[in-house]
Symmetry: C2
Subunit: 142 residues, 2 copies
């Protein structure tokens, strides 16, 4: 396990959520989705996206229709079903809660760092006083 792996893991869970969001705004096909995900700096490849779309279709969250293209093979344009819309609302909640949970834990760490830092400053007779703008220690990090 390396750090890149962990970063990949972190992105994994939210993919489905993002896909549903993108489709919720109107009919799109796979390349449209890849474009938008890329522009949001979420890197996804075809081998991930297509099976995911198939799973969501089989789960009844998506539907699609074939549309002829003027420049290439026909495309599968996806839309959300009613179930897909309901699920997306639920996932909106889940995302909010998840972000809250993580920020709670990260915030607690920053709080801890701050306390430790103040303790060290109190013991440090050579301390020049306040040290504003130290990385990771400002109140806005909470």
């Amino acid at each position: 396990m390396n750090i890149e792996n962990a970063q990949v893991q972190m992105r994994k869970g939210i993919l489905e959520f993002c896909i549903l969001h993108i489709i919720s705004r109107g009919e799109v096909y796979a390349s449209d989705m890849l474009d938008e995900l890329t522009s949001a700096r979420i890197m996804v490849v075809e081998g991930t996206l297509y099976p995911l779309l198939t799973r969501l279709k089989n789960a009844g969250l998506l539907d699609y229709k074939w549309v002829e293209s003027t420049s290439g093979p026909p495309r599968k344009y996806y839309i959300l079903t009613d179930l897909g819309r309901t699920s997306l609302n639920a996932l909106d909640e889940t995302w909010k809660e998840l972000a809250e949970s993580v920020n709670l834990i990260v915030g607690k760490t920053n709080q801890h760092r701050k306390v430790v830092n103040e303790h060290h400053e109190a013991l440090d007779v050579d301390s020049p006083g306040n040290r504003p703008n130290q990385p990771g220690l400002s109140a806005t990090d909470l």
Copy 2:
């Protein structure tokens, strides 16, 4: 695939990140971690946590020492290695970027909903005018 599955997926990626954060604040053993994760409403079971700790240890991000307990079997107290600390900093960045990416996509959907809604209102001759505080449509959702 059901909606619960998607919610589980969403939580998956951030587990490692949260564990590293908790350990970064000082020596803890598994039950301490489970308590904190639970209080942050992140549900994890032993069968998930122990293998994860072993993986992080083998990857060189964690170290541990056995400590006798006054009320039960000995405990493994974990600490971060230097590599673990470096990795945590990288994951802090990753989390920030991920949250930004997701909020970008969710925000775009809310923007879209707003436009669609305004369009419908403009066509709706029976419209009583502004409809403040409609769910999911306020500016603060962005």
